[in-house]
């Protein structure tokens, strides 16, 4: 963990810089006679200024090495091989490098590839050299920055202002991380998807009805079908998340919200609302386990009782039911907010005409709150189609285009997990298809979220 040591060293040195600069500033104040205003900023600020100037470039170097270092080392190691022995493709190169790393780390007792033991010492060298170089560069920049900052210490130097600007820059950087993350997500999804669409046509992907992503490892391998028509996956996602789960969540969520806002006594509402929120707090893996262990067998018994002979253990209904219950708080919370926002005068106006509470709710309040309720439903759908664990554990892997809820279907999220776990080389169409699926999922949820928020926003403006 050279990186960790380097990091600690750099931070320690920066701390030292801080102390030195602060001391210098302190002496400066004494020399100026100690009058208020003689020196612009307190020593603390001088110290902090120098420390930040020293620390920042060093941290950048270390972070850069941490992120990009591995690639540099790998290319160095590969270049040590004569052209004839270079790995044929990325797949082979990755396997070779894995073995090299394993040897160096001591995990691997014996390597298959004869090149690996040759490269192992080269790799170890390259890594340690790189680490030392990076560390040295970081320290050099630290000293450079520190010295430059130190030279600027003067009585009229506006250290405090400079430090404030530095702090604001840090705040801005922290905020920019959000943009970087979004970019990162979009870029990695698009990048890998483009590679995928280079191997499989987007038309086939988006409209094809056959999903069996077995690609050949060798051209002559038996069973090299590999069709990537993702429509059964889209259907499975919608069937479980947007249809079955919503059939459960919308009535239960809406009715709960109506009861809590219009009928329940305030004391009852105060502790019933948190109980509903509890449903959202249970980890999805727990729901998945419950769905697989308890609900799915019950659904299967029901299917058998209804006369279905080959009822499968995994069913869309089991996953959808449990997912629906999990989604209830999302629907009921937004519906609750929407109903509470309806002006009381409207409710009173209806009641004063002799309408019952149920008539008032059904004919006046729900129509008035409808945009907010719809927004909540859209957000809930978005959550449901992005859900992974429940469907992984209770729905199946069979890409089935069926309308029978007792059948097993698979979803986009299940397939992403299935394609990326297990021993897969990274560049095959099989694993890349997971990114294409991820891209579709991202776009679907993005559109739903933007639309839902727009609906809710327009509705809020109407009542303000």
């Amino acid at each position: 963990m050279m990186l960790l040591i380097a990091l600690l060293l750099v931070i320690g040195l920066a701390g030292l810089a801080y102390l030195v600069a602060r001391a210098r500033a302190g002496r400066m104040i004494v020399a100026a006679g100690g009058k208020f205003g003689a020196v612009h900023s307190r020593p603390v600020y001088h110290g902090a200024y120098v420390a930040v100037l020293a620390l920042a470039p060093a941290l950048i170097v270390l972070a850069g090495w941490g992120i990009f270092g591995e690639r540099v080392v790998v290319s160095q190691v590969m270049s040590a091989l004569p052209a004839a022995q270079q790995p044929v493709d990325a797949l082979d190169r990755a396997a070779l490098m894995n073995e090299v790393r394993g040897l160096v780390a001591g995990d691997l007792p014996q390597a298959f590839n004869p090149l690996a033991p040759v490269l192992a010492p080269i790799y170890a060298n390259a890594v340690s050299n790189g680490d030392m170089l990076a560390g040295a560069l970081a320290v050099a920049l630290l000293l450079g920055g520190g010295l430059w900052g130190y030279s600027r210490i003067r009585p009229d130097f506006r250290a405090r202002t400079a430090v404030e600007a530095q702090v604001q820059a840090v705040l801005l950087l922290a905020s920019v991380v959000a943009i970087l993350t979004t970019f990162g997500i979009v870029l990695s999804l698009i990048f890998e998807s483009i590679r995928f669409f280079g191997m499989v046509s987007p038309i086939e992907f988006l409209t094809g009805l056959q999903w069996s992503p077995q690609t050949a490892l060798r051209a002559d391998q038996v069973g090299a079908s590999g069709s990537f028509g993702a429509v059964p996956l889209f259907w499975g996602t919608i069937f479980i998340g947007a249809i079955i789960a919503m059939l459960v969540a919308i009535p239960l969520g809406l009715l709960s919200a109506i009861y809590l806002t219009q009928y329940a006594a305030p004391s009852l509402r105060r502790w019933l609302k948190p109980v509903l929120e509890l449903l959202a707090g249970v980890p999805t893996v727990v729901y998945g386990f419950f769905a697989a262990l308890t609900i799915a067998p019950l659904v299967r018994q029901l299917a058998v009782a209804l006369g279905m002979v080959n009822a499968s253990a995994d069913s869309a209904l089991a996953a959808g039911l449990v997912m629906g219950i999990m989604i209830i708080p999302f629907v009921s919370s937004m519906a609750d907010d929407a109903l509470t926002a309806v002006p009381r005068a409207m409710r009173d106006g209806s009641l004063a005409m002799g309408a019952t509470m149920s008539e008032t709710v059904k004919k006046v309040m729900v129509p008035a709150a409808l945009p907010g309720i719809v927004g909540g439903i859209l957000l809930a759908v978005s959550r449901a189609i992005g859900e992974t664990m429940i469907v992984v554990m209770a729905a199946g892997l069979a890409a089935n285009l069926t309308a029978n809820p007792f059948d097993s279907v698979t979803t986009v999220t299940t397939q992403i997990v299935a394609l990326l776990t297990g021993d897969q080389e990274f560049d095959s169409p099989k694993t890349l298809s997971a990114f294409a699926l991820g891209l579709v999922l991202f776009c679907m949820t993005l559109v739903l979220n933007i639309y839902a928020l727009a609906v809710v926003k327009r509705y809020r403006e109407a009542y303000d």
């Binding site: 959000a178 449903l279 980890p283 386990f289 219950i325 990326l420």
Partner: protein, 437 residues
């Protein structure tokens, strides 16, 4: 009084006054009240269904899992025979005694001791010899002597002792063989069984045998991962919120950042897993399956939650506080970090704890970065392969061995207890420290 409106041109035919007493009207009113009652009942019913489901879920988990905290052990008399162990008593007393003892043949010793169980000699756990080793290494003077020890039994016997099998069911569907049932009965008859608190469950890492599997490894892995998550997400979240609320100029940049954060908050968690895989594992080559990568991925996922909660908390601090501080001559940075943020801290902490609770329960993104591997050692650090609690639940749930149902449920109990504790702390903080301005 000035007349503004002209009187209506034609007066429509006079309506008959409503006869509220008529049969029809009364029936209609009664029907409306019935509809009202039904509607109200449906609302209460919906709540009952939701609460009932939760109760059912918790009930089955606890019913299946509470026995996971217990373990059945069998009593054996062990003669710590130096010959069977293949050690020389002299070297044991020497300076390398512990090392010698560590390498002794405890499996043979266990087999020898198991013979005293007669027909039930196969009922002990495969790793029961570990108990012998631990005992002897703790007290080397036992060499050559006999002692009564309690050692763990196989999962099948363990479950029988806890009453987990329906013994009236036919053998094919029962899940346990007649042989094991009779072995168990024999042990019971001899008074050789006891069921005690299962320390191994808390302390051990994962194992292929249910009776030995524990959540210790996963719990430590969760701890490391969450540590990395907090260290990254908390500063990022609070600083971002501070910038957006206090310093951001009205403009494109602030809008884009806000949009990014709101969108990220609604992105499915598995997408973060894809990001982690593509960027942190494949591009940057960070160690697979490690709490470091898991922590970074989860941090990116919960950061928007912290930002949003912190923004709300910071917004709630009234402008008068800021004005007062500025009036004394505090700089904007000092106002924010010495006045606003401390006052907003309860709300920020509540949001953070809720975010951490969510990170604790997440599985999907970690599946993709490889924390699915079967990890039998407790993790050595944040860069070593590890697994986390919800992942352990997932892995065990897949296992066909019956004993793992109990273990999975027990692990869920632990997970839920931790989450309840976290949320209670969050609620306590909110109620105790939140100011109503």
């Amino acid at each position: 009084m000035a007349t503004i409106a002209a009187p209506p041109a034609a007066v429509p035919q006079e309506r008959q006054p409503t006869d509220w007493a008529s049969r029809d009207m009364q029936a209609r009113i009664a029907a409306r009240y019935r509809a009202e009652r039904n509607f109200r009942r449906m609302g209460a019913g919906a709540l009952l269904v939701a609460a009932g489901f939760l109760a059912f879920l918790l009930f089955t988990i606890v019913r299946d899992g509470w026995t996971g905290f217990l373990r059945t052990e069998a009593r054996v008399e062990v003669m710590f025979d130096a010959a069977t162990l293949g050690v020389d008593p002299a070297t044991v007393r020497g300076p390398d005694g512990q090392a010698v003892l560590a390498r002794a043949d405890y499996i043979a010793l266990m087999n020898q001791a198991a013979e005293q169980l007669g027909p039930a000699s196969d009922t002990l756990s495969d790793a029961a010899w570990l108990a012998l080793r631990d005992r002897l290494m703790a007290d080397p003077t036992l060499l050559g002597r006999t002692e009564v020890l309690w050692v763990p039994v196989r999962s099948g016997i363990d479950l029988l002792a806890k009453g987990k099998y329906d013994l009236d069911a036919p053998v094919e569907s029962r899940g346990i063989s007649d042989r094991e049932v009779s072995d168990w009965r024999w042990l019971e008859g001899e008074g050789r069984l006891r069921t005690v608190f299962n320390q191994a469950f808390i302390g051990n890492a994962d194992s292929t045998e249910p009776e030995l599997a524990g959540i210790g490894g996963a719990a430590l892995g969760s701890l490391f991962t969450l540590l990395v998550t907090i260290l990254i997400a908390f500063p990022l979240g609070v600083l971002s919120a501070a910038w957006l609320e206090e310093f951001a100029p009205r403009g494109r940049l602030a809008e884009i950042i806000e949009l990014s954060i709101n969108n990220l908050a609604a992105v499915p968690s598995i997408i973060f897993g894809l990001l982690g895989l593509a960027f942190f594992l494949n591009y940057a080559g960070l160690p697979r399956s490690s709490p470091l990568v898991g922590g970074i991925t989860l941090a990116l996922m919960i950061m928007p939650v912290i930002v949003i909660a912190s923004r709300v908390a910071i917004q709630a601090v009234p402008p008068s506080i800021r004005d007062a501080a500025l009036g004394i001559g505090a700089s904007p940075i000092q106002v924010v970090f010495q006045h606003v943020v401390p006052l907003a801290l309860p709300g920020i902490m509540t949001g953070t704890i809720i975010g951490i609770a969510r990170a604790l329960g997440e599985t999907a993104p970690l599946l993709l970065i490889g924390m699915r591997a079967f990890v039998t050692d407790t993790p050595q650090g944040i860069a070593a392969p590890a697994t986390v609690l919800p992942m352990q639940v997932f892995l065990w749930s897949d296992d066909v061995q019956r004993g793992f149902v109990e273990k999975t449920s027990a692990a869920i109990i632990v997970l839920l207890i931790i989450l309840i504790a976290m949320n209670s702390v969050a609620i306590y903080l909110r109620n105790r420290f939140e100011r109503r301005w």
